[in-house]
Subunit: 402 residues, 3 copies
Amino acid sequence: MRNTVLEATSTYAPGYTLDQVFYQSPEIYTLEIKSIFSKHWQYAGHISEIPNPGDFFTFEFDRESIIIVRTKSGTIKAHANVCRHRGSQVCLEKKGSTQLFTCPYHAWSYDLEGSLVSAHAMPDDFDKNKNGLTPINVALVGGFIFICLAKTPPSLENLRRDLSGVFELFGFEHLKLAHKETYSIDANWKLAVENYQECYHCAPSHKEFAKVHAMARLPEEFQSLKSAYLKQTNGSVKFQEFNCYFDLAPPGQEGYQYGRNPLLPGLISGGINGQGVAPFLGEISDYDGGASEFMVGPTMFFLMYDDHIVGYRFTPSGRRQCKCDVFWFVHEKATKSVDYLLEELTQLWDVTTLADKKIVSDNQKGVDSQFYCPGRLSTMESFEQHFLDWYIMTLKSAALQT
Amino acid sequence: MRNTVLEATSTYAPGYTLDQVFYQSPEIYTLEIKSIFSKHWQYAGHISEIPNPGDFFTFEFDRESIIIVRTKSGTIKAHANVCRHRGSQVCLEKKGSTQLFTCPYHAWSYDLEGSLVSAHAMPDDFDKNKNGLTPINVALVGGFIFICLAKTPPSLENLRRDLSGVFELFGFEHLKLAHKETYSIDANWKLAVENYQECYHCAPSHKEFAKVHAMARLPEEFQSLKSAYLKQTNGSVKFQEFNCYFDLAPPGQEGYQYGRNPLLPGLISGGINGQGVAPFLGEISDYDGGASEFMVGPTMFFLMYDDHIVGYRFTPSGRRQCKCDVFWFVHEKATKSVDYLLEELTQLWDVTTLADKKIVSDNQKGVDSQFYCPGRLSTMESFEQHFLDWYIMTLKSAALQT
Amino acid sequence: MRNTVLEATSTYAPGYTLDQVFYQSPEIYTLEIKSIFSKHWQYAGHISEIPNPGDFFTFEFDRESIIIVRTKSGTIKAHANVCRHRGSQVCLEKKGSTQLFTCPYHAWSYDLEGSLVSAHAMPDDFDKNKNGLTPINVALVGGFIFICLAKTPPSLENLRRDLSGVFELFGFEHLKLAHKETYSIDANWKLAVENYQECYHCAPSHKEFAKVHAMARLPEEFQSLKSAYLKQTNGSVKFQEFNCYFDLAPPGQEGYQYGRNPLLPGLISGGINGQGVAPFLGEISDYDGGASEFMVGPTMFFLMYDDHIVGYRFTPSGRRQCKCDVFWFVHEKATKSVDYLLEELTQLWDVTTLADKKIVSDNQKGVDSQFYCPGRLSTMESFEQHFLDWYIMTLKSAALQT
């Protein structure tokens, strides 16, 4: 594996897309699971989804399933969904409430903390204390629950230091999940993540998005719209910028990025025509005509309007298949069909994600051809460039350690 | 392959389940087909399914198809279902009656003995005598037909010596197949075979079975029920025990196991509530409140009630898929809907096998996780332990010979 | 790969079918794509399908997609369907008319010649002239369009020298595609090509074909029918024979074969009972009771009746799957439902190809068995023998160059 990866990474030229092998090789995919998806923080869900002790849901990617549960003490824990006896999945429901996780195979039972509390007919020297569910790291980012499979996860300290004011402002702990949709994409996960990271395609491919977001405009026009927009900042945390993402993250810290960008003049939120769609979030009391981008780790992206937040999570299902889960959040006190209409809330990003699903799978088809070769990136793909630099660095470093 | 296998087998610790690699590796799967499924006796069917010369059926597993046919002399033969010309399957029907097997491609014709009798336009030096269908070993165990792909199959001599009295008693040669059902399972074949070999899961997972069979009880209670049950033996062959299975089989002999276990007090057979479901088998004239377990080779299991027999056959369809075929046998003279009701006959083991199909595929899901690690076996999984010991020994020995 | 292939080719014995490994190995499949499908001419379509500038269609095989388009000057060009930016497929429609190929992802636009004419927001040193669609070789064989992915394709000079009279006679440039049908086959592409190349199976498997074509008869009878038929030749180019195919092709020349064979006495064309089905082609003015076989490259076969032409193209979709596209051509002036009935035109070869689809997939099933071994070819499989000799030679030579 080491040689395959090092040979592949040596082909990388900054400013160009990746070589075909990165979108096809089983060895590289295996290393990605190990060195990216098992080492970084991934978004699992929001605290409001499990308000009471015993409430749980599962998060799945590739061949993994993780149980996220609120314990009796009210804290949130995560466990590998693998029985310590014969390895069956312990929890077959995607969501629910329970006091014990009882394996459906031989009825080994684990409490909410993951401790094995019951296993009959075991040999005398069997130690229950050494056979709890494997614990998985959990961290809260505001009210958003992240999990990390690594023994020593990257630190979230800087992120919290820089952004706790933002979390307060948008009321991260006072949201509710209004809707979730899963989009299955016939492409390697990187093509989907690369797609999310650039707006070079927005004007040609997303006419609904381009009617609302200034980011779809050419660099000069966007910069001029952004300058005009930022005149209103008044030093609010809302308008801070932090670019500590991907290759810019300090060693040992999880990457993150926060910044605010204008909508087109006169528009206020992510409704299909730029209209507002729900009550204000957190401490926000007025539309400012912008939306914040917030990224945590390599595969979770939030788009924060003044009245709702849209979250995007990318997970691999295999070498050539991935999932994009889209989450729509509103204020916890907003009532469906009274304070917001689900269709108005979800329309813009549903239509945009459906378009991307097609774009990305057509991208994979071309990348599979013997005539594909790395192409030059535009000036509107600089964020993607950071991703690619970081990706190659991460993979190379992982290969050198094998 | 040798190194992969030897490295894998060296991880095995008796008393624990297998490492993940055994449920995933393509190299190991290939070696299993070669050293287990192509070396041992597999159940093909019962003599009553092909009563007349020319009657045939096929048996399929992995990428193999075998024709089992009654010849003109009345004996039973088996042939590889592969034309000696261009390799087409010769027999496309699963079951039927014929005097010649004529290849659907170029009409090469083989008689029931497998001899090539017609092939037109062949070069002068072509020798029909050297181009018959490849013969496959056939053996009868009572009236049950087994086949073995090996040139030198393991001997069935000991098995016949020990159990011919049992075959007579249960009238193996006077059965008929009342029903067959195929359950496709999304899991490696070993997870299904392991599942069949232990009753640790019976109480939690099979409430219908647990209401009928004492084996679902904890070891102490089971032993006490068994002791009470065995007081009635009177030296009948029915109550003999032979444990010459898996690692306990003498060199060169096919493994087998026979023993009789009690139903719960007051119950008599494998109806859904422990009731009788069909006329007595063979020389049996009364219910004794028990059922016999009879195993031949690594993947065929019979459960013999006084009035019917249920057979289970496990076959791999690929690394992560297998089939469980369940066969229900009654006395050859029993008339459907008069002497037995199909639903009553099949209900207990249909519901139990459907539950196992789900259990076993959920087991595979967990085994695929990076958090799976071999777990400790309970005291109720000793039979499975023999299987695992034998499996590792067999694989290791096969790898050393490559 | 080199060792795998050389070991495999060393098992080949002329007069026998190929070893199993050739129908299963991923390494061999990869080499076939590289050394056969990317080196030889493949049939793409007919000029009449793209009569006007801007008309285009795509041709797909394995993981490739090629755009074939008529340019403003009226010539026909082919381009790899891969955007030079991020690699998306540029053209998502199978057929249509356009003035620009605009990538659906970021709107890079290419003209009909494949030149990049528009790409916004690119760095200053980006050179549009170096970023056109990758050109693919195109050649016309009469009015039939062939493409070749190789930098230096095999020459078609000899073919044109020998057969231009035939092209004229049959009016290759004055045909229209009356119907196309795609048959997906669950088998390695070679089993399908081998099937097309011999008529040993015609009598047993294709009763409709066998009622029309003398070729289904045994060698002696066929030769006697052919001798009788050829008495009418009068030196016409229609009755020439050229056998420069497969291993008989001179170095550097694409293989081809042309010859004419009789229908059964009294029959005139490829209607289901040997009847005529459409107006005469080209300069033909009478039925002569025969049909021409014409082969170009390893996977394109034409069957030329006096009143219509049937074309067969075989393409791999993967190791164990392929496609057979069948094309029915009539005179360009023939009007559907007036001069010909689609059902009458297509019936014989639709029913025959459906039968072959089943035959070939059953062949693959048997070839997958451990009991498959190369079988002896009949005297009616000499054409297939040439294919196999050439195939082994091609693969061996490609392996030696890796």
